[in-house]
Symmetry: C2
Subunit: 462 residues, 2 copies
């Protein structure tokens, strides 16, 4: 664990205390949150990379393992066992429970065994790892619903957490800016590595190498692919060919758990073909126009629909779609090529608070649409100052969609298949940035990474 | 998943069949092995990196997820669910159960639900993830002991697995050589990155970047540290200073799960100080002499004791220890500076089959010594042709040992503390290679990575 320096530490203590006090205004019963514990890589001494649970991290501030915090009335109690004395041989001197308590401003510290006497009436959120989940249930002495199905006081807690975590405080913003800056550097390294790379994996190595070099981890499994139409592609073995576009969706996470999420699409050869350029410009316009509209009060779904309309209009201009843009969007024709939502909340999680189902993403009373062109939208709330969202329009030729007989029948009069065939070297394009909603509009945390074709071309030829 | 090409595929099918046939000669009841399933990174769509269980991988050959195999009489039945149709949108076309069955030479394939009718009388080995472990118990309808505490038919299976997995076949060796080659490249990149690096993390980024660029993963959490005396150091935030030694213990794992494990120690400035050079040469001699002795029939513990004696002799020559080397080793004085074993088995796991406790590492009837200088030895068997072991002597100034009042009292007459103080810039040195036992002696799979100071100096100044 990297311990904070003393100035950082004062900000951490103050920031965490403010979070607890805000929570105490919303919840008057105790809240107990578990960090979780690392999974094993086939034998117990070989641990898989560990990520503490996000709700825990929000109040504990630093990535503790096998730790529990109890919050009540603005106070923090930390439950953590000291490492056994023989651990110093293998792991060196590690801070004691008391030292860690001091770092995060705990009001009391206890060994884990003392937790069992202090769980009455407490709310919690289920963590993802089963071993810890079973402990939660046992220690609270009641069944705990999964985190996307919370009920009663756990649901109230979930709603309170959403209120807090939706608006990033200074502590969070400092971390999010770091994650964004390192992710920008990783993408630049990926572009610069392209000229001499022969496989997707080599680009990925260059990008993730930068993240590791900054002592960060990836916030999610990277997508680095010449098959951009596979939306969650996680294979990296394809050869790069001169006519390919490379889509890279890679984001760093700070040691304390805060994420960035950036996508860029660039040409393997350094040069976009006319068909690639034509589609790219449409997606870039959707990206830029959505970001220009970001401000408090704007409905995020309206940004999604704006992107959809710009894409439909652009494809109509190119002769790929036929009809007027509003009609095309109303019939979800945009979703043939842009089947996902325009973005999501971003914070400790890359899809922030998605463990709570749609409690964070959807205003109370709203639920997922069953429309093909809206159902994958992860965020449907009016924007508020302090929210961080991604804006990530895209264009994809997904065989599972375009070859689907039902879609082909439904949209037979609005797609020009012959014209579309002239764009077959555009498999997938996405442009994604991290946008902070501010009182005065928007601040793009990832703005230092180019989006314009001319600049991408320069960078990938450097 | 990267699918094998057709030539690779024939070798895979033949190699896996041979493994099953060998197993059938040792075990006449069914064997059921689970791959396990990925853990989640705080919400269900964000998966942590997954590693299938090693015993499963040995017979399934490729890294399947949520899969089960049943082996009996040399036959393989694969139980695996096809992805739901909507998965093609997000994940593209993935091979069907039948296609995967063909790739690995399965005799039959079934959906997972059919497993429950085919579990009678089967042996298994518990996997590490609790969710899968609970399924194992439920489906076999009996309690399953943890993998290091197997009993009855599960213990017999463990012993059979050790017989097979201790001797690497051609399929395994092809993978192990790839892992070794990429790990060598990673270490070279680390050395070359040193001149311009300012933190441990930057060296790590350069090294792991190479592993990722080859579409491999790290076989274990890398150690890249200027505090080499912390044996399992997993922090990377320290600044590099010109007088520091950098210890890097980094190994790649192939996509099918086979590991390498290499340690090198080099000078941050490119130049070893006289004190660093003096100790390094002792460790290198222990390393070289142990490797020279590797051949079938040699007791691995004798190699450990040989390393201990060379280190004791070298430290006596330098005036750090006082006494004759045999006596020093007999009283475990070497372990003050070399507290771990000289190495371990290597294969699918970096400590191969350590999930089975000491069943693989210790010949039946042998158990861990309670001697300080032997108790951490992970391997105590006569070497046999086809075994892959690490040879990794080291020297460390571990405060938890050297400041321990009991040790200081016990060894007061054999340590010259004033002389030792002249070596305070030698915090930790380890030199580790992967050595295959062959009929004619030894083949060092990692031999292309330099160990000699002159060569390390050249490489870290390139």
């Amino acid at each position: 664990m990297t311990l904070p320096t003393s100035t950082q530490n004062q900000s951490l203590i103050i920031g965490l205390k403010q979070r607890r006090e805000k929570l105490a205004k919303l919840i008057n019963y105790p809240v107990i949150l578990w960090s979780g514990s690392p999974a094993r890589r086939n034998f117990s001494a070989n641990k898989l990379p560990f990520r503490a649970s996000s709700h825990f991290l929000y109040f504990a501030g630093i990535p503790l393992t096998n730790a529990v915090i109890r919050l009540q009335g603005g106070k923090l109690e930390l439950f953590l066992d000291n490492p056994p004395p023989e651990a110093t041989l293998w792991h060196g001197t590690t801070p004691t429970r008391e030292e860690i308590g001091a770092i995060i401003g705990a009001n009391q510290v206890y060994p884990l065994a003392e937790l069992s006497g202090k769980t009455a009436g407490a709310a919690t959120i289920a963590v993802q790892d089963l071993a810890t989940y079973q402990q939660q249930s046992q220690l609270l002495n009641r069944p705990i619903s999964l985190s996307h199905q919370t009920t009663s006081i756990d649901l109230e807690l979930a709603q309170a957490l959403v209120k807090l975590r939706s608006h990033h405080d200074d502590l969070a913003l400092a971390e999010l800016r770091q994650a964004a800056a390192v992710s920008v550097a990783a993408h630049k390294a990926g572009m610069q590595a392209t000229k001499n790379a022969t496989t997707e994996a080599e680009i990925r190595g260059a990008m993730e190498g930068v993240i590791i070099a900054h002592n960060m981890t990836c916030a999610y499994n990277s997508i680095v692919t010449v098959q951009g139409e596979v939306l969650h592609n996680e294979s990296y073995h394809h050869q790069l060919h001169p006519g390919d576009l490379l889509l890279a969706d890679v984001g760093a996470e700070t040691p304390n758990g805060w994420a960035a999420d950036i996508t860029r699409t660039w040409a393997v050869s350094g040069k976009f073909s006319p068909s690639q350029k034509a589609i790219y410009e449409i997606i870039l316009q959707a990206h830029d126009d959505c970001i220009a509209k970001v401000k408090p009060g704007v409905e995020y779904q309206d940004l999604h629909l704006l992107a959809a309309e710009i894409i439909a209009a652009g494809l109509a201009d190119l002769g790929i779609l036929e009809g007027n843009p509003q009609d095309l969007v109303a019939m979800d024709a945009h979703a043939l090529f842009f089947p996902h939502g325009v973005g999501h909340l971003l914070g400790l999680d890359v899809h922030d608070m998605e463990d709570l189902g749609d409690v964070a993403g959807y205003t109370a009373g709203r639920s997922r649409s069953d429309r093909f062109g809206l159902g994958y939208l992860r965020l449907n709330r009016p924007l508020e100052s302090g929210m961080l969202v991604t804006i990530e329009p895209g264009f994809y030729q997904v065989p599972a969609i375009l070859n689907d007989p039902n879609f082909r029948a439904k949209y037979q009069n609005v797609i020009n298949w012959e014209r579309l065939a002239e764009f077959k070297d555009v498999r997938g394009i996405r442009i994604e940035d991290d946008v902070l909603v501010t009182d005065s509009g928007a601040e793009v945390l990832t703005a230092s990474l180019p989006t314009k074709i001319e600049e991408l071309v320069v960078m990938s030829n450097e």
